[in-house]
Symmetry: C2
């Protein structure tokens, strides 16, 4: 219903408006928000209207109210329990990252096949064995998984996750994971994205 570009901007608006609340500012306008992101204020106005929030054109939006509205809309008021499968370099970096908590996301545990990792405790979370994955997912009502296993393991592990009722997988392995229609999978190839970005350097063939 909402476009993907709008959905991309909403979390950014939330951060900006929440920052304004922290700074003690009572009101914020579309132009204020637009300036931070270097976009058109009309786009900001349209997006906020599209999610059903009205503002006073002369004064702007009440920061506390808009922050709260965005927070609820984006589901940050609900705790979402997440697990990380693949406790390697990237998995551990993500596990330590405190930025998830602001958005209502809690990384509950990590999973790995490597017996040297299993049993370790990182950033307040346990690294558990893959044997415990199915029961953990069911006991903790886990719907969302961050997948940071090597490419050759990714599809196999994903297939297990689908069979355990997972609804969304954020996949960092550089393979295109096939999945049932009712599961959301984001194949997020960081390096391919980086390469795309480098194509835009003036002088590159792609630029």
């Amino acid at each position: 219903r909402l476009s993907i570009p709008t959905l991309r901007r909403l979390p950014l608006y939330y951060n900006i408006v929440r920052h304004a609340v922290d700074m003690g500012e009572q009101y914020i306008s579309s132009s204020n928000i637009a300036d931070v992101l270097n976009i058109d204020p009309t786009q900001v106005r349209k997006d906020i209207a599209a999610i059903g929030y009205g503002g006073k054109p002369k004064i702007g939006f009440n920061t506390k109210e808009l922050a709260e509205y965005l927070r609820t809309f984006l589901g940050f008021d609900k705790q979402r329990n997440i697990i990380i499968v693949g406790a390697g370099n990237l998995g551990i970096a993500l596990a330590k990252y405190e930025g998830f908590a602001n958005q209502g996301m809690k990384i509950k545990a990590l999973f790995d096949v490597n017996p040297n990792m299993v049993g370790a405790h990182i950033a307040g979370k346990d690294i558990l064995s893959m044997d415990e994955l199915e029961s953990y997912i069911k006991d903790n009502d886990i719907k969302i998984v961050i997948l940071t296993v090597p490419a050759k393991a990714a599809q196999n592990v994903a297939n297990k996750l689908f069979s355990y009722g997972i609804e969304a997988v954020w996949n960092f392995a550089p393979v295109n994971i096939s999945h049932p229609r009712n599961v959301l999978v984001w194949n997020h190839d960081l390096v391919a994205s980086f390469v795309t970005f480098l194509q835009l350097i003036p002088g590159s063939p792609g630029a």
Copy 2:
């Protein structure tokens, strides 16, 4: 000149075609490539034509030739020296990642302000002091930087990098870095992207 969606697909085509070469397949068709990515073969054909490569419709593309063409087009045949600024969890995960080398990218060194990190050696690369940043960039002709410092340091560090002649910055700190027009900056807010993705789960307000 080329659209961003096309530029996004090209590195993915390269991986697929190179894989076919490794598997000893002599030819590959647009349909073969399209199947892996679950996209329309016509799109693949158009993209490959758009970068100036012709194929034989009946037989398909010669895998070695197309791989070589894509490799050159994407600049993977040129070594691109990259540095990482901010040798924390994410910086170190990226430094250890071997996926960059396939694409002609070499992470040469990391930089940090933390004296406990400076002098360490990770994945064959030194962690150097920020005092050495300017001379290192000039001596090694560094044009591309991966920025993995905390949000509050990001703009300051970026300003230094711009003054040292850096052309492209891949920024992971969750702030929108302002930059001169002739520098390419990608503000890659991983968590905001993840949140956007979660909006698409059936049942979410955004879905």
